[in-house]
Amino acid sequence: MGTDTLVPGVPTASEMMAMRAAHELHDRDVVFVGIGLPNLACNLARATHAPQLFMIYESGAVGAIPERLPVSIGDPALVTDSLQVTSQADIFQLFLQRGLIEVGFLGGAQIDKFGNLNTTVIGPYANPKVRLPGSGGACEIAVHARRLLVIMRMTKRSFVETCDFITSPGHRMPGGKSRKELGLPGAGPTTVITDQCVLEFGEDGEAVLVELHPGATVASVKAACGWDLKVAKELRPSRGIDASATTLLREKLDPKRLYL
């Protein structure tokens, strides 16, 4: 498991999540890029195995190749040298709703066992304990992206039996309806990447532990999860996490540690 003190060749939790997420990206995938770790994961993939990764930002930049790490989702460096800069209406209608986005990234304050995500409120909506930022583009990304990658640190507070509010639909919603029954076009969350492990979803829409990062154990994962997490019969070996990528992240992609 990662540590927050930088040891050469030993990835931190954030670095592991970025590396593991990069592994999910294939060359030429069309990715709807969020700021922060998703952006780092994309840049890492571009610098390694997916040089032709196609990045689209909700701010309107299509085919961006930012020459600096964007400090916001609408950084001027996303515009310069993009293939196209268009309106947000086009981004949401012509790209996302049209089904052109292969991969979306989301995170959240809460995720439940069906992959539903909450970025709206902790507590009741009318009288929240914490007022979170809200959906932004999350709901429509969860609806339309053909594959959805979730990146979240795993804690009992964030991996919960039931979300206080479903901002973005996962695989099975209150009342038990599936995505298919609700007519949701995208596949929903395909992979949840945490600081300890990777979860995927079974036929019944419930999350299953399928892979541990170096240093994590089934017991440490279960201790960090707010529900009785299913575990795959056979866990896969850890993937995508390696020392050379750590160096790349630290020295080239985010030397100022804006997001790491």
């Binding site: 701010s59 001027p76 914490v130 959906s135 932004g136 007519g183």
Partner: protein, 302 residues
């Protein structure tokens, strides 16, 4: 017919207590200068509408101008929360600010309907989400061809839109490059449009490249020339985002006392944008000023 006025006069004429207002721009082209003038003119009970309220609306909220916020993502990206907003919507402050909440696509769709003169806009969204349960404005229609339920939002026709652009003529023909945000949709949806430009140019400049015009002067009510009008946001081809400002804002805004002090010094304490920039200092302007990167022209001949 020139519509060129000062920001002070534009706000005085166009923004009234109780109005609904959109200061648009998405990270790019957010006209803080307009918000600061609204604060100085002490407008009350505004309905403030933006996908991302950002610091610009948080300041309006802290200054007591806003009674209702219509939005889709409220935070200081990568930094923290919007503290004026949170103080009025959580715990003891609950109910001091009314929230009406969408996703980006949903709120954008309200602008699309308003701009297109339709009473509603359809979008394939929200199935399985709690958002419609929290917002009675989100409804649905049955597609007459497929029988599918498609979500709808109602048209939004704000009283005022503030549109910032790189250049405009004095009739308000506004040209923009870089990120468009939803400025076109917001402008066509609004009843009154204040066009704010970094630079006022002769109409011949506009006419020499008509495909760059995002908002026609036809729908502009007032035109304001306000260089650096977007700081700490940015204007492509003019100045970069002041990211340090966004990062430091967390410390300024977390405590109402430091927040009040900042407003006193940088908003109430200056008479206009020029004085604000002077206060920030030439060093900052030098640091943020663009390094030129000119595109080539194209041939409009025939």
């Amino acid at each position: 017919m020139s519509k060129l006025v000062s920001m002070k006069d534009a706000i005085a004429a166009s923004v009234h207590d109780g109005d609904s207002i959109v200061i648009d721009g998405f990270t790019h082209l957010i006209c803080f200068a307009a918000a600061h003038e609204i604060i100085r003119q002490k407008r009350k009970n505004l309905t403030a509408i933006r996908l991302t309220p950002d610091l610009v609306y948080d300041q309006l909220i802290e200054a007591g101008c806003v009674s209702k916020l219509i939005f889709s993502w409220a935070g200081n990206p990568g930094v923290g929360g919007l503290h004026a907003m949170r103080r009025r919507t959580e715990g003891a402050g609950l109910g001091q600010l009314t929230l009406e909440e969408y996703s980006h696509f949903g709120l954008l769709s309200r602008f699309l309907a308003g701009s297109a003169g339709l009473p509603f806009w359809p979008l394939d969204n929200y199935a399985g989400s709690s958002i419609p349960g929290a917002n009675a404005n989100i409804k649905s229609v049955t597609c007459p061809y497929t029988g599918r339920q498609i979500a709808t939002v109602p048209a939004l026709r704000p009283d005022v839109a503030v549109i910032h652009c790189q250049r405009a003529d004095d009739e308000g023909n506004a040209q923009v490059w870089g990120l468009y945000g939803s400025q076109k949709e917001v402008a066509f949806a609004a009843k009154r449009v204040i066009v704010v430009a970094e630079e006022i140019v002769p109409t011949s400049v506009i006419r020499s490249d008509p495909n760059r015009t995002l908002v026609p002067g036809l729908i502009a009510t007032h035109v304001v020339c306000e260089p650096w009008g977007c700081h700490p946001s940015f204007v492509q081809g003019h100045y970069d985002r002041d990211n340090d400002f966004y990062v430091e804002w967390e410390n300024v805004s977390r405590d109402p006392a430091t927040y009040a002090k900042w407003l006193d010094e940088y908003v109430y304490g200056v008479k206009d944008r020029a004085e604000y920039m002077q206060k920030l200092g030439a060093g900052l302007m030098e640091r943020l000023r663009k390094k030129p990167r000119m595109s080539e022209g194209v041939d409009y001949g025939y």
